[in-house]
Amino acid sequence: MSRNAAHSLRVPSDWIGFVCYLAIDSIRRQYARTKLGPLWLILTQFVMIAGIAFVFFSIFKRPLGQFVLFISASILAWNLISVSITTAPTVFTGQSSLIQSFPLPFSIFPLQTMLNSLIVFLHGLAIHIVLMLALGGSLKTLPFLVLSLLVIVAIIYPAIAALGILGARYRDLAPMVGSIMYMAFLITPIIWDRIDIGGGMIWIVDLNPFYHMIEVVRRPMLGTLPSTRSMVVTLAMAGIALAAGEMFFRRYARPLPFWI
């Protein structure tokens, strides 16, 4: 593999095992010397879910059981998307010593970030399933989640790669994306539902791409299917992201070793 060859989002097949190794290794490193280890993957998410559910239950007097499940699915879906996007601008700059020492294909780093988020998500999903069983939710639409995750990966992976390149060249991007994602958390129906917003403002929600991405992931986790509109929007986003991401990567990945 040489940096003088064309770059592509497609990770060469003999590198896939290596990327899985990197992803698992980075999670192990993150929790090295902790007593609970990767159990923190589950705990941190569920402290957040329990906190939000409790506060909203007390303020808005929602039925607790259903609301806990809704928040659990929503937060897991949101974390899958937002953690990837927030860390994307530093995906290459954080690996500068490796990139400058070994001829590794650049695409392995965004893929590793994507896999990390997926691993965290799947840990959370296991607990979500337990919650569903305990609180009487339906698991019959869960298999649809596989398709949802494929679509989400097809959107997020090219986005991480493109943001990674831009973030290496323009260092203001990392804090910028961080604050945008914070805003997105508030204006997207994650801890509140689409119907909570007044009738005249619903179009804002429907224009929000994060809303449709959250929907395709959380609905199958709650025993229903996402709306046709959300499915169509996310499929279109996936197509655009893959095509635009590949074009962008081919065009701009080459000088990365000079930018990090």
Binding site: M1, S2, R3, N4, D14, W15, G17, F18, Y21, L22, D25, R29, A32, R33, S97, L98, I99, Q100, S101, F102, P103, L104, R254, P255, P257, F258, W259
Partner: protein, 248 residues
């Protein structure tokens, strides 16, 4: 086989507060490559300025030159790490290169853990790594410290570990900077012996060094790199004599 034709490498530099001062001195010859203003006033270091080189199977080439002449950049181009701005690079074979031996080292992990994880960057073959690990442990001679976290190691011990990993896996084409001389005298002797065996097995070798004696012992041909260009080429003795005359 390695073939480079008229290779140029321009490294963009992103400056903040010093940019004006540097821009006013552009065009003057500076230590460590040539600086210039590119499009839109962007500052660039021209690390390589038209290098052509051919290394055929069985050849070992040494690079001489002062600091900042472009030796390491040339090695990085051959290793496929640095993209060229212009020119053609053809490298046919599995390249093994050592630049920053510490890349991928995790001080919180044990020596053994680091052997496993750092090896992944050299060869992506779990089975081969598992088979080679005992030999690496033996070569590093760290005793029971191999099970201790690397942050407990002295600088010399860390170097032993990194060198033991880096030199464990040979390749068709070996590219390296003179930087393996870490550790105490007996360890250096061991590394040289091991490296010698690796270089014998390799098809092409390119090594940069400030030591004419080392190049003489390893290489059959030398290039003097100066200011991003090949200033002289020939036998190690001739090129070194010319280089030393100019440096005097």
């Amino acid at each position: 086989m390695i073939r480079l034709q008229d290779v140029h490498v321009s490294i963009p530099v992103f400056l903040n507060e010093y940019s004006r001062a540097i821009r006013t001195s552009l065009g003057e010859r500076m230590f460590g490559g040539r600086l210039s203003a590119g499009r839109g006033g962007k500052v660039c270091v021209h690390a390589l300025r038209g290098i052509s080189l051919e290394v055929r199977a069985g050849e070992r080439v040494g690079l001489l030159g002062r600091n900042g002449a472009g030796k390491t950049t040339l090695l990085r181009v051959i290793a496929g790490i640095v993209p060229v701005s212009n020119g053609m690079v053809e490298v046919d074979g599995d390249v093994r290169s050592f630049f920053n031996l510490g890349a991928g080292l995790d001080p919180t992990r044990s020596g053994l853990g680091n052997i496993q994880s750092m090896s992944m960057f050299y060869v992506r073959d779990r089975k081969r790594i598992d088979e080679t690990t005992p030999a690496i442990v033996e070569f590093a001679e760290l005793g029971d410290f191999i099970h201790m976290p690397v942050y407990t190691y002295s600088a010399g011990m860390q170097a032993r570990l990194m060198v033991a990993v880096a030199t464990a896996y040979g390749g068709d084409i070996m590219v390296f900077d003179e930087m393996l001389g870490a550790g105490d005298a007996s360890f250096i002797g061991k590394v040289e012996k091991r490296l010698g065996a690796m270089l014998c097995a390799a098809r092409c070798v390119v090594v940069a060094s400030h030591s004419a004696a080392l190049l003489k012992s390893l290489c059959d041909r030398a290039l003097w790199i100066d200011d991003g260009r090949v200033r002289a080429e020939g036998t190690v003795d001739n090129v070194n004599a010319e280089y030393e005359r100019a440096m005097r």
